[in-house]
Point group: D2
């Protein structure tokens, strides 16, 4: 493949953790060229000067950079509603967009409005958007102009539980999830300081976290969801409790659902965050006792839970090898 055949990629909001992780993946992607990366906070500065860990030759530009409209695909990693008008302009120019915010994740715009306390800026675009849980919607993603990248906690719960719910094999679902600190984003906030979080652990958002309605809408049933903050940089482990009318059938469904998938797999042994950190994989396992079931599911919140799944969506959209540029082996 000649360089001119590579996809031209833009990243909006490349300063945040998810955006910077997209930047890192795209920079090493064999089929992509990063042509523009925006950051309000760092406009005009070289990426490598702001982030010595990312020896990228680009200079951060602003959101108005005309290069964005010359891209084949743009990743938008902005806070809720901040990217709405830009996403519309890009799509009008024929640029395909992967949006990492929650803006286009909900089928029900009213639900979105209620959960995020805003009025959806572009309900028309919302109708175009495809919910990009890759393994469950490939055909739609392939054709999509706009992909809504799923939430991190959500991905860890949906991948094992969607097949169970679709088969009518899970009820009374409680998802007790634990996430690494990068899930909170880049922050100057004492609550996220090293001294506050090291050797610490806490729950938050009981009955009120925004990912609960996203999980419930996609599963088609109410889920009780409780997030916790782990003293690790990356990774989510979800412990999902449920009742099932048929444990054997449930196990069968879980074992079979992703049999040929490169990134999602059932394992006999219980998976750990360390098995998937720094990869785009989701691993899960299950145990049963009577009609009670427990699923343990792990992902890297910044990869399969954000930037990795976003790049996987791009790979699908453009007919590339779905695994291109996405790590599968977890380092020590």
């Amino acid at each position: 493949m000649k360089k001119s055949n590579k996809l031209k990629i833009g990243i909006v909001g490349a300063n945040g953790y998810a955006g910077a992780e997209v930047l890192r993946l795209i920079s090493a992607h064999p089929d992509c060229t990063l042509v523009v990366a925006t950051s309000r906070a760092n406009e005009g500065k070289r990426v490598c000067d702001v982030f010595p860990a990312l020896p990228c030759p680009l200079v951060f530009s602003g959101m108005k950079d005309p290069l964005l409209k010359t891209c084949d695909a743009v990743f938008v990693a902005l806070p809720q509603t901040a990217g709405a008008s830009l996403v519309g302009e890009l799509i009008d120019c024929g640029v395909r967009v992967i949006d990492l915010s929650a803006d286009y994740r909900f089928d029900d715009t009213e639900l979105y409005n209620g959960v995020y306390g805003v009025t959806h800026p572009r309900p028309d675009l919302n109708k175009l958007a495809v919910y990009g849980l890759c393994e469950t919607a490939r055909d739609k993603i392939r054709a999509a102009k706009l992909v809504a990248n799923p939430g991190c906690y959500v991905t860890s719960v949906l991948l094992p539980m969607l097949p169970l719910c679709r088969a009518g094999l899970a009820s009374n679902i409680i998802a007790d999830s634990k996430s690494g600190v990068s899930g909170a984003g880049r922050k100057s906030d004492e609550n996220y300081s090293y001294c506050n979080l090291d050797e610490n652990f806490k729950a938050y958002g009981l009955f009120t976290h925004r990912h609960a309605p996203e999980i419930s809408e996609k599963l088609g049933k109410e889920v009780l969801f409780t997030p916790h903050l782990l003293p690790v940089k990356r990774g989510i482990l979800s412990t999902v409790y449920f009742t099932t009318p048929d444990p054997d059938a449930a196990l069968e469904v879980l074992r079979g659902a992703y049999k040929s998938e490169p990134f999602v797999s059932y394992t006999d042994a219980l998976p750990e965050i360390g098995h998937v950190a720094h990869t785009n994989r989701c691993m899960f396992s299950a145990r049963f006792s009577g009609n009670r079931g427990i699923v343990i599911s792990v992902i890297d919140n910044l990869l399969k839970g954000a930037a990795g799944q976003a790049v996987q969506n791009m790979n699908i959209m453009f007919g590339l090898d779905e695994t291109a540029g996405l790590p599968q082996y977890s380092p020590i």
Copy 2:
């Protein structure tokens, strides 16, 4: 108080984390003198040479050390069944014993046998033993010859849930608990190596952990209990899900149950492990939605979950100030 009025204390198994923590507390206790500490592995060596963190002038002795029988109280921190005959001998000599193993925790000896896969060596002693969840059994503890110190996970769940269950206000209980690594004890095992656990998190013992039957026996109802391993040295946070016929009454019970207790408290804000690490406290809070309730409960697994509660039991047994020698303020 003259030195001769101080309690003479022995520790059996002072080499393990719980035993060493008792040693640390007793060494700073204003009303105690440590006269003997045993360790099979380190017999004959000075404590301060084996553990430079513990500048204790004593030499570790063996389990046959006759000084044990001259003590007012002996803490026994040995693996299951290993201390049984010694505990009997000590009690026969009039020495009061706080046992930190599971040997005397169960009312039902057959249940103990099944859970630990052994035959209880001294069912007769088991009848003497008082289950030392301090705040719930002070009168019995005061008179006890033998106190069975509760399990760490168990303590974190029982303190908030016992009052609820006694009031008939909690059913369908699921305890999703997360513990620091010291809960596993001192180990030369790659599974507990720094590289294996740092930046990692995992569940274990699904449907099979030994603390589940201990919790269920004490609450008088089945509890689904799932432990997890946190990358912190100390601390347990339990997220307890339940249904309740009356959320207002449940909150009332939780708020009132330990109102005048120095170590146990309901808090409006959600407690974190960092609020109680290195203290003997238990803090918990609750949230409700419809008939669902969630309790968040935190303790330090080595203090309120082991050595601290053991010393608190001793304080009660001997009529000392119950808070003597027990930290209440958590450091940064």
Copy 3:
């Protein structure tokens, strides 16, 4: 001792890490009553509401609280120069002060002005001040109205190196020091966020750190000092390189210098941060090869390096047991 015989203590700046650590120690000190704690940021709030880890019944007051002048001793833990006029007022009222800032640490006021880029607000007070490196200046501390508590890095270097320098046994000194994050103070700054510091390590302040001139003034010779930031909450380890004309004599001096001290000790094995964390101890050891020597010295930066040494100074000033209220055993 009746309650009325306890020392009445005030803390100014009890919101910072060092001030809060003094608060924690004083609250458990057998001979003290905490009567006032100030915090600009949290004036009017209960300590236990701001810091759930500190179940202290007091309400934070402001710096003008008249109770301060009724105290026997006040700990001042404010940024450079911020406490100067208050310290003067307190001393005029007969209140003895332990100042944890750098304001009164330098004999040479001009040096202080240059290092901190300020004009010393009270050079007159500076003449009164005693440099409170406890083990080296007990008689002066006992009589002092104002004690300047030494810097954290400084304490770790001075304790082993002062005896060597006084004996003319160390030259060409390089102190390569590594500190836990709490040394930087309480901060809302992304540079001190969990994601920035976890799994990270860095040097800073090469040739320019403010503790270098403090070390050099006290040792009476130039020292090359390089600080580093460790991913731990507490603790300093200093690796001190030097040349010596007589290694045997140097070892003799190091072994003998603190022989009967409760908090400072030479050890044959190399000490680790974990041996002294959460204690007021300093442990050090040395190795020699030819005329080269290396000293390894460890302290807890918040205790022997700040609040612990401050309380030790108070104990000396008021003729209390020097170890009262100060932990000597390090937990797991």
Copy 4:
């Protein structure tokens, strides 16, 4: 490139951290096919069953696996002397070898014997070996049958200091180095347990570490080297003190030495371990005061300090793009 054109690669000792890291890199390398991986401990087991983090389809074989002799290149990651006869056999069969042990690192076999307390099993092979510090010996590496991969600490010190020493611009060198725990290898040893190393930091091997003579031989002058153990999984930061007759010239040399290198760079800001973790990069900076200089140098001990440099050596040996398969961007 057709699959049949890919290099056939073997790994001996793929169970250790360095070997497993080679396995991870080779599995994602665009120009390589992993055909055999040996492990004494896990012979006959699937890699993905032993290491769920490495979803590799291979089964571990033993050291006698005849496939090794069919490889284009074999990485040998065994303890000292354990691989000696195998390396000889492989080279006799025309297989090119990258050895990650210390066996072939020393020019002076007698020095090796003394440092490692053994008799070198193949001094004849030692003469063939090329010391594989990639940026300093490309021509020799290109032609080499046997490359000795440098030590991890050594790499962090040599890359900045070799150009200085060759230019006569550095003397009186002291290297104070700090390494992540993975540098110690995979271990079942309480000293490397989570509870022992978390929140801890220590020095070790004062005046006696095996990397000191390796550094000194390569620099051509004595170096005082002190290693320390950081509570991080990966990364080395070396603080190198030296005197220089000409600071300006020294800075010039450091800035210019690796100007066009993809993996080694001088930076104005001080580099941190987090800037290079999970990459094959070395970053360093320098500060001067009078004739004193300090270099701060960082690498990932498992990549540029072991497996990454080993793969870089392979890339050079076979004329591949030198950066192929080697990460350059460090994740959060």
